[in-house]
Amino acid sequence: MSILDRLVLFLPTLGFFVLGTVILVSAWMVGQVRRITHAAFFMVLAFTGVAGVFVLLGADFLAGSQVLVYVGAIAVMFLFAIMVSDLKELSGPAAGSGPGGSGSRAPEGDGEAAAARTAARAWVLLAGLVAVAFAGIVLAAVAKAGLPEVSVPAASGEPTTVLIGRELFTKFLVPFEVASVVLLAALVGAIVLAAREDKDRGLGEEADSGAGAAGRRNGGVTA
């Protein structure tokens, strides 16, 4: 085997570890960075990294969906929500922290502030313990489980789209229909909660998308 061949074989592994590092670091940053907009961008980075890992695992259709759904739809929705709530904060009378300050703001009173800070630190510690305990137990189980060793070549042959499409509309037809009900319930719910006006006052129509409702409120705040 020539050095070139070895290198080609090694590339996916290298890619996997690079992507893994990117994913974990950006996921960590989502919970840590001060500004919520930055957290959103780190989230996008993590989503994109996961899409890359899907490609390496030979799940090409999922990688595409991942980009479209998470990076395209969900992340944009988050940014919309952040924009709307920050606008409200800037125009509202309530004294607030900087946009998206994450709980670092201390309440009034020195003693109270110190106590609050201690309590906050204790919660962070507890959260860390829970997460570490979780990861430790599950990793130990995965290590001991004796999973079959399956290596995935980067390009594992035919695309998975056909297989997924066939399964989705035959074997998984019932779940597919149920998923549509989930989405409908979410649609109805998001509209009814986010729509600003009461129908009884007859001010606006509510048959609109969630983004439309957000935009309307946006206008209402500045008005």
């Binding site: 137990i137 599950v138 189980a141 995965v142 001991k144 489980a145 004796g146 999973l147 079959p148 035959t170 074997k171 998984f172 037809l173 019932v174 779940p175 149920v178 998923a179 009900v181 989930v182 409908l184 319930a185 979410a186 109805v188 719910g189 998001a190 009814v192 909660l193 009461d198 129908k199 009884d200 048959a207």
Partner: protein, 503 residues
Amino acid sequence: MEWNLVLPELIVTGTGLGVLLLDLFLTGGGRRAAGYTGLAGLAAALVAALRLMPAAGRGELAGPFWQGMVVGDQFAVLFKVLFLAVGLVVLMLAVDFVERRRMPAGEFTALILFAVLGMMLMAGSRDLIVIYLGLETTAVASYVLAGLLRDDVRSGEAAIKYFLTGALASAVILFGMSLVFGGLGSTGLPNASALAEALAGAGPSAAPAVPSPLLLAVGLVLLVAGFGFKVALVPFHFWAPDAYEGAPTPVTAFFSVGPKAAAFAAILRVFAPFLVMVPVSGVEGKALALLPSIFAVLAVLTMTVGNLVALVQRNIKRMLAYSSIAHAGYILVGLAVATPRGLAAVTYYLLAYAAMNLGAFAVVIWLNNHGTGDEVDDYVGLSQRAPLAAAALVVAFISLIGIPPTAGFFGKFYLFMAAVEANMAWLAVLMVVNTAISVGYYYAVVRNMYLQPAAEPGARAAGPVPATPLVGTALSVTLVAVLALGLLFEPLARLAGLACGGL
């Protein structure tokens, strides 16, 4: 047969869509029509589900339908009937409330219907994908329902708390499911007999029945934590009181019974095969054998903390929230026992609990509709102002405590016997001690209603409290059910046993 089996689900979904369309044409007082349509749909679905009962009893519906996504065993049909009845009662209680508080009637009705649909799917499938999607249908609808009092700050707070904990719990459940999927090698769950068979004799098939029991066991433990959030077991219960207090009262009634019972149905469906199965050797076996002990610890914690904290509550919705936490603790006793009889006792208790808790909430909603507040002190002198309501609440409380002629007594008795039979008498004794503690907070309300003088200075809303037809019907139905479930204990316990036998 395939179509008949999912007829209740189809009717509920169709009614939900119909209500949403109908709502576009309704204005002002006509909004009630949305609620009536929902009631009609639920009643039709209930009839359809009841008609499945005989065939399910004969075991004709057990086979996998819809590519194994839907099962129609007795367990599924029994729980579908329960969920549809719960939906019916809750909607009856809600119509007046929704109108009075100017909540969006069409969306409210449709979301209740979708939530009921999700609950039915949770009980009616042996496939992790369908169970998960059912769970999420119920959850998404519930988050919105909690926040539907759009001008009430506490309602929004309830919704956000319920949503964040619920979404976190879903993620944990999902992670557990992914490990179970890795352990089992498929999304379909085995039933107890198939699993035992596969494990006992390695069988003619070369492939192992359970490729990785250890992953399976860890996944199941995570599922306990996730479902623990959903049914508010004690280390995971902190969201429940706030969510229950802030949500619109009919929605609180729904939360405390519907999604909770559905989550328990899913727990029974997922865990039953592994609780009563032939033990596996090695680390895997130890991990799986740990499950009943985990349930036992959670049961003790849940009922004790629930009852003790309920003692100091001044708001009746909050008190009922802690009371429902405590009842989840009693129900867990049946899972900790891990015998077929214990599982049957869980099923029977869920039926009894649904009836009596809805009865208590029916009274709270009835009084609230006529201006009585939700504080325990608002119930002072109620026996003179509203003797019927006071008496009804006493009946519901008697059952919640577990005093003889009622369903609550038989439910506890059944759990108690199951625990004693399985040599877990200490758990049974703890249950009795907890029942004694619970008398304290139920009696505090009864004392306020009957023994405190009514005409205290500043007592508000002194007028009589008339019952509206819908609330009256709902209350009568629940109270009759509380007594009937008790009187019919023998046949129902047998039915519950048969239902759980097929898990």
